[in-house]
Symmetry: C2
Subunit: 128 residues, 2 copies
């Protein structure tokens, strides 16, 4: 189905900006999601194909820009050294996914009308 | 107000994708808007700080991916040589802006809650 109707999709990408700083966007939200699942920055970065340094920089930006840190490292107990979302991190992540869902739902009527104007198959085989 | 609350904003960017091809996105929509206003690919590209070649490639992609071309060059009359949106181009542009508006409206409740979690001023002066 390369180049076919099955490949056709719409994607709303939400970015929260403060001046030039991306406070929150698709990449940072995916990173929060991965930390939530893996409990480790290293494993989260690996799962996203991102360097540890890159993941750490994204977290540093979020921890600085939000009133409370979004991610914290556990100091004791059985998960000592693990990294988890704080309450703020959980709320921020959840609000971001809610906004993505609300956006997608809101654009669906327009998308139905727009998609009918698009060719199902790219002439010449679909090379970009 | 550098780094201040006034700089804080949210931006939904909508992309229509077919495989790896961006059929329509913020850049292409802005280009359609500029062609609509200027009646010329060259002037539209200039206004967007884009090379003529780049504008032409974006138009070529849209003209190929939509069932009908979105842009056409006038062959006669007083605007001979000018470039205008076709009926399809006008509908596509208008649907895109409608979807942007619908998306923004839909995310506002979440955005109100999220923005309260963000610091009004970046600690250390706001360098990215």
């Amino acid at each position: 189905m390369k180049g076919g109707r099955a490949d056709l999709r719409i994607r709303p990408r939400i970015r929260v900006l403060k001046g030039d700083i991306v406070v929150l966007g698709p990449g940072k939200a995916d990173l929060l999601d991965a930390i939530r699942r893996f409990g480790s920055i290293r494993d989260a970065a690996k799962a996203l194909g991102m360097s540890y340094m890159r993941a750490w920089k994204l977290i540093r930006t979020m921890n600085r820009e939000f009133r409370e840190p979004v991610v914290t490292t556990l100091r004791g107990g059985s998960r000592h050294g693990g990294t988890v979302l704080t309450e703020t991190g959980k709320v921020v992540f959840s609000l971001y996914r809610e906004m993505e869902g609300a956006s997608l739902k809101a654009i669906l009527p327009g998308w139905r009308r727009l998609s009918r104007r698009i060719r199902p198959h790219t002439p010449g085989g679909g090379a970009p």
